[in-house]
Symmetry: C2
Subunit: 240 residues, 2 copies
Amino acid sequence: MNNPTAAMLVIGDEILSGRTRDSNMHHLAGELTKHGIDLREVRVVSDERAAIVSAVQALSVHFDHVFTSGGIGPTHDDITAEAVAEAFGTTAPQREDALKLLGDHYASRGIEFTEARKRMARVPPGAALIENPVSIAPGFTIENVHVMAGVPAVFEAMVAGVLATLAGGAPLLSQSLRVMRGEGVVADPLGALAEEFRDLSFGSYPFQQDGIYGTNIVVRGQDGARVDAAMVRLVELFGT
Amino acid sequence: MNNPTAAMLVIGDEILSGRTRDSNMHHLAGELTKHGIDLREVRVVSDERAAIVSAVQALSVHFDHVFTSGGIGPTHDDITAEAVAEAFGTTAPQREDALKLLGDHYASRGIEFTEARKRMARVPPGAALIENPVSIAPGFTIENVHVMAGVPAVFEAMVAGVLATLAGGAPLLSQSLRVMRGEGVVADPLGALAEEFRDLSFGSYPFQQDGIYGTNIVVRGQDGARVDAAMVRLVELFGT
């Protein structure tokens, strides 16, 4: 597979403390798969500058794209913009174009454009703005890193905007078979089948239902005919 | 804070492809917080040996504990045991004590102990077994890395077993205030308060309700009296 690769960086103490359950990872994973981009790694780090800088540096070197979530709001603990800028040896001052977007928005609604709100205009020089149709404050793309908000509605809108601009690979196709036998029974024949179809990937996901062990087998690949052929073999092996 | 630190490593293509929503991260985060251990980083990697080895090596050096989830079942793509062993320069052969646990279990139920099921006895020499009260196949602890199953019921039981053996720090206390004002209004006074209470951490989490912007403010710290004092100031600033 020669699809573009991606990593995600989630920034947020509230996830690491167990207070909030992250939902952006699951959303991004599904969207990237549909778009033919392979999500290879996710990291969740705290709102600490050093942790963000080193994660951005490590991930941006190893993957074609990095998507970040969180830490671009107005409060004192929102430090993602500066940290991502620092990872690329630059800074994130309040930028005129972002200030104008936000200023016009607040003026039209008769809301004061406070110093805190101006923090949402921090964007590195040369970075491209990512539109925020939900609450205006933009994200940005610097090099191969797409910096987006953590609020799910905003994150999702920004992902849609970014993906529309990126070249994807062939979408990954998948089919699955639900087998009412445990993984221990399925494992040996499945392993042999995986050897035979080395261009596909085979996943097995155990579950229990009414006290009976079952396994979901998922076949993934870019060639639909090959996936179909593997499914025929699976049904022969395990029934429907 | 001098609490022990921890990282989590989630192994699983099914999460990166968006097929499955991980729930073990949220569970572990909450349990560690209650236990006084600071979860500082989470990584999700695919079922690839090199990715697992390098993540285990990086995380085990930087944090006091590493908790892994996934990849210790019987199928061909379950390679976590070997990969974690390799990260510590050793191997994970099928071990006698684990084989006996599993063999007795299957014998008592009249189930064949297949080669695939024997894969669940792969444990590095010298590692301590982690009990699995749900489905017997054990996890293990090697050095500071606790290797556990991905199935949530099994993962949760193993976490409970491991945490009972670890020394925790002072539990982190938290209180929160729900304010029906946007983050842009809250940010400046909250930043000033955070400067004043530097021994505590202040998080702000925006939400929308019926079209109105609100903010949950969370104060965390190990000294209950200090958290109380900060809450009094918050109520003065923002009302109840």
